[in-house]
């Protein structure tokens, strides 16, 4: 049976060369089965630290476990029902989607704009690229602190500007909705370089002749962008959008650094809420439930976007 599978899946040229090589020198060859041992270390690590905890996480979500004691009761779907009726959760889910979709939208619009600008012959192009890309190598937590200095109420850099303009200071991070958008904005600032570089590479892969031909035919710059650049850029858009959405939906560090979910629960995302439930409120069963829901949301949104965007891609 096993050999049959091997035969079916073997490449034709592999079979031919196998024969040829056996005729020539009969090299000692270990069977592919033995070679498969090479991924054993990776498999063990993945099994122990991802698969096993994942299954355990699903189990814990059906219990009322507190996170440290040995005893817990099975409560069935109670934690999931609790999630649906929890008044704090609506805010949390909305925030998670603002972090995810808001920063994806901003990152891609800005990244595309920057890429279109840098795709021309411009002096200092390399320098701009370096600067815009720099925040990516910095820990998001530290980026959060740097932004905190900017938006803090007392003597923050943003309020200094307002002061010079003769306006009253604004408590940027003390107001829930504003804080959520500022965090989204900080995440955008930090990772828009990724979108920019992806689009820049995508733009450079589009043959110049297309643009030139369309220009000769009388297409305006806007029409050229709409009907030539954009469709050919679709693969880059897919990659960038899916990557950013996943990154945004699981945003954690920046929120911890800037507001720690506050004021109250106003800027919590699913990830910070889960952390809070587990370590501060010792509500491990509920935290595990949240983890599973977060996994579900990210997987569904990620795959749905991937399929939807892939459908729009055109081939040359």
């Amino acid at each position: 049976m096993h050999q049959q599978v091997r035969l079916q899946s073997a490449q034709p040229e592999e079979l031919v060369t196998k024969k040829a090589s056996e005729m020539r020198r009969k090299p000692r060859r270990s069977s592919p089965w033995l070679v498969n041992l090479m991924y054993l270390p990776a498999l063990i690590l993945l099994a122990v630290f991802i698969f096993y905890p994942f299954i355990q996480g699903v189990r814990y979500s059906f219990t009322n476990w507190d996170g440290y004691s040995e005893q817990f009761r099975w409560v069935g779907l109670l934690q999931y029902q609790r999630f649906l009726s929890d008044p704090d959760m609506l805010r949390t889910i909305v925030n998670t989607f603002i972090y995810g979709c808001g920063s994806t939208f901003l990152q891609n619009i800005l990244g595309l704009a920057y890429a279109l600008f840098l795709d021309q012959k411009i002096r200092g192009k390399g320098f701009v690229r370096t600067i815009v890309y720099l925040p990516i190598i910095i820990s998001p937590l530290i980026m959060g602190y740097i932004s905190y200095f900017f938006f803090q109420y007392d003597g923050g850099a943003a309020n200094d500007v307002l002061h010079v303009l003769g306006r009253a200071p604004v408590d940027w991070l003390g107001n829930g909705p504003t804080a959520v958008w500022i965090i989204t904005f900080v995440n955008t600032y930090q990772y828009m370089g990724v979108a920019m570089i992806i689009y820049l590479a995508g733009l450079q892969a589009i043959p110049r002749e297309f643009q030139d031909a369309a220009a000769i035919d009388g297409a305006s710059a806007v029409a050229r962008f709409r009907f030539i650049t954009l469709p050919l850029l679709m693969p880059a858009i897919t990659v960038s959008v899916v990557y950013n959405v996943i990154g945004g939906l699981k945003l954690f560090d920046v929120i911890v650094a800037m507001t720690n979910g506050g004021p109250g629960y106003a800027s919590q995302s699913l990830s910070t809420m889960m952390y809070n439930l587990y370590f501060a409120r010792e509500d491990a069963g509920y935290a595990a439930t949240l983890g599973n829901i977060m996994f579900l949301i990210i997987t569904v949104v990620g795959i749905a976007l991937l399929i939807a965007l892939r459908r729009k891609e055109v081939r040359l």
Binding site: V5, T17, Y39, I50
Partner: protein
Amino acid sequence: MNKKLALIVTVLICVLHIIPFFILLNIAFKSPHDTSSKWLTPSYLYLANFVNAWQNAHLDSALLSNCIIASTAVVSVVIIGAMASYPLARFPTRWNTVMYTLCIACMIVPALTILVSLYKLVVDIGGIDTYWAVILIQITFSLPLTIFLYTGFLNTIPRELDEAALIDGCNRFTVFLYVLLPLLKPVTATVIILVGVFIWNDYQFSVFFLQQPGVQTFPVALSAFFSQYQNEINWVAAGCLISILPAVVVYTFLQRYFIKGLTDGIAK
């Protein structure tokens, strides 16, 4: 496009993106008693901030932790990942295809979603506040991407090369060791940069598994420092500056590789 307009836009973009770092520098070099605006550069350099941050945030041990964890994890990921990719890329039997799909599926699982049971597991195996547990976890969560990159690259190397080596007397293992491994250099650079940046900056694992000051990495040490000295923002700023310095210096010298490596990793 108009040349002058392009220049103005270029300068504007640069200024806009430098502002946060400019502010950080200003705060880090200002005396805590200096209440002037954060936009103003101090006319003096107040280095006591750095001394205070270095001592109170335990940045010396943080630097050591970061180096130990990042270097061990990155080296291990490269070895384990490259090894695993060879059978997965070269012998796509039905079983191996399943294995590969399973590996790649792990890329979507954000680590945070399994935090509760992962933390429990680490507690059970006595891994809290130890380097080895964090290193193993960092390796594990970097593996899917690493395997993805290595198999992708291996698929671009013609199989005829393997066959030729086999005829010349190599076995399956030595083909990998002497023929394929040396060819994997470019993708290894990508993996090192991508995984290295991620692990060096990681906060979400380290904050849970490294709770003692002696073993904490930069981000965790800084977050503890920040919650303790929230009002001494000059110290915190100095600490932030110290901890981003190594990465920024390396980035400035190797930025071409960084941009290429990070983008290759994401775009593929």
